[in-house]
Symmetry: none
Subunit: 202 residues, 4 copies
DNA sequence: GATGAATGAGAATTCATTCAT
DNA sequence: GATGAATGAATTCTCATTCAT
């Protein structure tokens, strides 16, 4: 709907390949030559589409922001309630589904993203999301639970991958969709304690 | 009386400064020149103490491993029980206390650590810890809860820092020690569900 | 009309200059900076045309191999005879004529060439040539004569240069073409004894 | 008889090890650290015995010069004759016997030795030797034969080594002493033509 | 007779970037 | 829309050398 160049889209292919490589080796260690090579074009071609390497990064980050922004926009219209909180988690999880490379990408490039302008925008969005989940007058503990709750959605994929490498746990690894259910369950559980007084768990 | 290098321990000073810089800007973006400059020595001096840049990294990682290994060694002697699980979390939290730069360092350099040999050793240790927490015949969900539970210990510090930057939440930020209590509480809460059937939270 | 780089062929110019410098100071002591400076380009330009310093070396070696390979290819088609032997020497001498810098280059960089992969290819070629000169069932002595016979072609140039530096012998130094005749004569003489029994010269 | 430090002689051990390594990898590519490591001492220790790396080289070259100088001294006392010529070759061959590493060393480090002061001394000696072999009023061709004749002594060892690597010729490789006989025979043969008019060999 | 710590100079190599075509 | 050629700045790393102890 909002694509700029419907087809034959080199620009989009660059973003795709770049994201893959940034996710695999990190932003710093990925050179423009690698991106160009994998695309079968020259480095100079990248500069036709993006002004700098950082611009490519920004392009990727932006492409991920849409679903998060949708969730925020929706959430800001609603009155706070535990149900809202859960619904935000569900929408966030849905938005992230099928974006594993992007998730990995974010997970792996935190110092870079943070230092690179594009980072503050992204951080601001994540904080906005967690604010919506915290209700009025949250304690610090509430904030922590909200943030970890969202984190659980993303991190579950990586735990699955780590298990896959481990002979002991590799056996009964659930499939993609079951994994998402687990992530959601754990995330909701964590969020469930938000706003409740500590019940002496310690 | 005041020698240029207070206590001969250049090697240790290198590790310290390197960790700080790696944590701040990431491993890749930190050059040996920066490390040397901040120490007031030449680049070549670093090479007298470490064979490669990667060796410096390994040195840092190893210095963090001791407390984790202690926790593992202890845990492997015990019979499994929920109480053991909680005790492991407590020991882990205690081991991490006061090591904020190290924590940040790990959080920020995942792709590098992973690709750099030293990574697998570290990952193996973390997985051993989570295995101890899972009890016999864990489900995938149990594994996820165990992993996120440990993660909560580390991540809480960063959430605090993020809040500090945010005018809305900066006000009532708790102090270091209270933060650790929060982290522990949240972590134990998450771990509490390990081994229990899903109670229809979703 | 007078562009900075007369005939676009930077790659070839690099090979030329590199060979000259390698011949003069040796491969190890010649830095890429020297090569670049003498060409009026930057070091990085060299890397546009060659992947490594070693690749430049390989390029030079390969450029010398053609005439040798021609001689081998021709020789392998022929039946062995003393006449063949002499003809191989002549073809080799002809192939080397006018390649003094290359010859010097080889003479001076033996340890490097040997250790650098490109070396075994070259050595193999020289051995193939000597094999053609040895006839069937050669003795070790035959091999030695064959090898030294070829060596004589190359080495004569350097002896001439050494004489040039020596006041006593500098006077009646022959010119380039007469030098080649001498080399050929000596070489053929040495080869002449191949296959003949020792005549009690000792 | 002329050793300076009879026993426990680090200085001599340094020369030995250095020669070996220079012969194997070349002077430039051999670092003082390698030498020190193989000796089980520190780099700094080398500096106790030699002022510079170049001094180590000079030490090696000098240690080789003695037998050559003896041959020269003896030769300069004699009247020229073909018999003298042969005797010089024999003395040179004898002097070189059992010094394979040294020979290799010289063969491999020509550009360095030439550029390093020590080089001219050595070259002068070799030229003096060849002069003694040439008789009065030598032609350029005589000089070439004389030089190659000496070269044959040294080069035979390397040809043997090359054959050893070659499956086709490795079989009937003669032993050390027989190799020396071959070298001497070939050398004398080459020298035999000195002073005689070309006999239409071409 | 030797070491431990450090230096200064320089090496090869990589990279983001530019620009004429 | 893209390429080929090149650059400038930086990076990791190596090395001969020095010197206080």
């Amino acid at each position: 709907m909002t694509t700029q160049t419907p087809r034959g889209d080199t620009r989009a292919r660059i973003l795709d390949v770049a994201m893959e490589l940034f996710a695999e080796h990190g932003y710093e260690k990925t050179s423009l030559r690698e991106i160009a090579d994998r695309l079968g074009v020259t480095k100079a071609a990248l500069y036709y589409h993006f002004r700098t390497k950082e611009d490519i990064l920004a392009g990727i980050v932006d492409s991920m922001s849409a679903p998060i922004e949708d969730a925020i926009a929706w959430g800001e219209q609603q009155e706070y309630s535990p149900g809202l909180r859960d619904e935000i988690i569900r929408r966030f999880a849905e938005g992230m589904a099928g974006r594993q490379p992007l998730l990995r990408f974010f997970h792996e490039n935190q110092p870079t993203i943070r230092e690179l302008a594009v980072g503050s925008r992204f951080k601001e969005r994540m904080m906005a999301l967690t604010r919506l989940m915290q209700g009025p007058e949250p304690t610090f503990e509430d904030r922590v639970r909200a943030a970890i709750s969202l984190m659980a959605i993303n991190v579950t994929q990586f735990i699955a991958e780590a298990c896959a490498d481990d002979p002991a746990s590799a056996a009964q690894l659930p499939d993609e969709s079951e994994r998402r259910d687990v992530a959601l369950r754990v995330s909701l559980d964590i969020a469930d304690r938000i706003g409740k007084p500590a019940d002496g768990a310690q």
